[in-house]
C-alpha cells in the first residue's frame, strides 16, 4: 500500500489502506471538497471527520481547500465550527435566477436582531431598554422563525428571564465566521456601548453580569 493508494478507481485498495494509514492529504482535500460541494448547509468538522476514512485530518484538509479556492468564483467559508462553500459575493449579479426574495424585515426587527447579535445573550427587557420601546412578540417570533435567533440560557437573576442569542444560520446568512466578526464590534466595545449601564440611582442588579456572559457565549 505504498504508492498505488490514490488511484481514483481503486477504492477497495484505498479503503483497505485506510485501515493502516490515512490517505495522503491531497486525497483528503479532494474528499472535503466533494463533501462541502455536495452540501447546501455548513458541515461541521466533526461530521466531516465522521464521514472520512479513519485517521484523516479534516481540519487541515479544509484549510488547504480554503486556500485553494481563494479568489475563485466559489469560496470556502467557515461558519462557527462548520464549513461551507458559497459563491463569491462579487458575482451575485450573475445569479438573478437563484436570488430568493426574502420578506422585508421591519425596522424594529432589524434593530432587535442587531441588538441580540451585539449584546448576546440578551433579554427582552434589555432589548427594550436599548430601543426605548417595548418589543412586540411578533418581532421576536419573526426572528425565531427565520432561525436567526434562538433561546439562550436563562439569566440567573430574579424572574430567570430567557435570553436570546444568534444562531449559526444567522452567521451563515450574513457571511460571518462568528459573532466576534460583526461589523464594528470591537469599536463598540471599546467605546463602552455594549455595556449595560444602570440608570444612576437605580439598583439594577440584573444587568451587571451581562458583559461576562457575552464573552462566555459567543
Amino acid at each position: 500500500m505504498s504508492d498505488a493508494v490514490s488511484d481514483d478507481t481503486d477504492l477497495d485498495a484505498l479503503a483497505e489502506a485506510s485501515l493502516f494509514e490515512a490517505p495522503p492529504l491531497a486525497e483528503q482535500e479532494r474528499m472535503v471538497e466533494a463533501v462541502l460541494f455536495a452540501s447546501a448547509n455548513p458541515v461541521s468538522v466533526a461530521e466531516m471527520s465522521g464521514r472520512m476514512p479513519h485517521g484523516c485530518n479534516a481540519k487541515a484538509a479544509l484549510e488547504m481547500l480554503q486556500k485553494r479556492y481563494e479568489g475563485r468564483g466559489v469560496r470556502v467559508v467557515k461558519i462557527g465550527e462548520a464549513w461551507a462553500m458559497r459563491t463569491a459575493p462579487d458575482l451575485g449579479f450573475l445569479m438573478q435566477k437563484e436570488t430568493v426574495e426574502t420578506r422585508k424585515l421591519s425596522r424594529a426587527a432589524i434593530e432587535t436582531l442587531a441588538i441580540v447579535a451585539y449584546h448576546q445573550p440578551c433579554t427582552r427587557a434589555e432589548i427594550e431598554e436599548i430601543r426605548g420601546v417595548s418589543v412586540s412578540k411578533g418581532t421576536i417570533d419573526q426572528l425565531l422563525e427565520l432561525e436567526w435567533i434562538r433561546f439562550g440560557r436563562r439569566r440567573m437573576t430574579p424572574g430567570r428571564p430567557v435570553t436570546y442569542v444568534v444562531t449559526p444560520a444567522f452567521l451563515d446568512h450574513f457571511g460571518l465566521e462568528s459573532a466576534r466578526d460583526l461589523p464594528g464590534v470591537k469599536e463598540l466595545r471599546a467605546a463602552g456601548l455594549l455595556e449595560s449601564r444602570p440608570m444612576p440611582g437605580l439598583d439594577d442588579e440584573d444587568t451587571e453580569d451581562q458583559d461576562d456572559l457575552f464573552e462566555d457565549e459567543s
Binding site: 460541494f37 455536495a38 452540501s39 447546501a40 448547509n41 464521514r51 469560496r75 461551507a84 462553500m85 458559497r86 459563491t87 463569491a88 459575493p89 451575485g92 445569479m95 437563484e98 436570488t99 430568493v100 426574502t102 425596522r107 424594529a108 432589524i110 434593530e111 436582531l113 442587531a114 441588538i115 447579535a117 451585539y118 436599548i130 430601543r131 426605548g132 420601546v133 451563515d172 446568512h173 450574513f174 457571511g175 460571518l176 460583526l182 461589523p183 464594528g184 463598540l188 467605546a191 456601548l193 449601564r197 440608570m199 444612576p200 440611582g201
Partner: protein, 264 residues
Amino acid sequence: MADPDQFEINDLLSVEERLAAEALIVDVDGYEGPLDLLLQLSRTQKVDLMKISILHLAQQYLIFVEKATELRIELAADYLVMAAWLAFLKSRLLLPPDPTDEGPSGEELAAHLAFQLQRLEAMREAAAKLMARDQKGRDFFVRGIPEEVARLRNVTYSASLLDLMQGYARVRTKDEFRPFVMDREAILSMEQALERLRGLIPYAIEWADLASYLPEGWELDPKKRRSATAATFAASLELAKQGQIEIRQSGTFARIEIKARNGR
C-alpha cells in the same frame, strides 16, 4: 405640565428650532418611542452625541410635547412619562445642587441619557451595517444541486430471552386474570348469569349481597361490572319469580341481598 417656565424656554429657542420642532410633530406616529424622538431631536443640534446639550434637548422635547398637546395629538403615556422625567432633569440641571439630596446629580442623569442615545444610535448604525453585508441568497449563493447524504441506517433490533419470557408472562398473566369459563367480551348475558346463579343457589344459605355473586374478576373492570351486575340482577328476579330465591333491599339504593328459599 402647564408650567409658566415653558413659555420662557419657548422664547429662548430660535425660530428655526421651533420650525424644526413643529415639523417633527407632523409625523409623531413615525417615532418608535420617546428615546427615538429624542435621538431625532438631538440631530437638530448638529453636534456629536458625545457633546450634546442634554439641557437643550430636554427643552426641545418639552416643547414638542407641548405642541403636540396644543394640536390635540394624543401622545402615548410613555411620551408623557419621559416629559415628566425631562422636566425633573431640567430642574436638576438648572438649580444649584442640594447638598442634602442623596439621589444622583443632574449631571449623572444627563450623562446616562446621553449614553442611552449614543447606544441607540450605535445599534442603529450596526444594524444598517449588518444589513448592508453580503447576504445569502442575495449576494452569495449555496450549492444549487445539493446531493443528499444517503443515510444508511442499519437498524438492528434487540430482544433478550428475558424480554421474550417477560413478554410471554405478561400475556399469560393477563389471561389468568380472566375467568376462563366466560366469554372474552365485557358482556354477561342473562342466560349466563342465570346459569351461574342456579349453580350457586344451593350454597346461598345466608343472606348475601347480590354483588358478591358476580363472576370472579368481573368486578375489577367497570364495564364488565356493569354488565354483570345487570345480568345477575335480572337473573335473580327470574329465580325469585320461579320461587327458588328470596330478595330483599332495606331501602332505596341499599344493597340487594339474596338467599336460597329452600335454605330456610
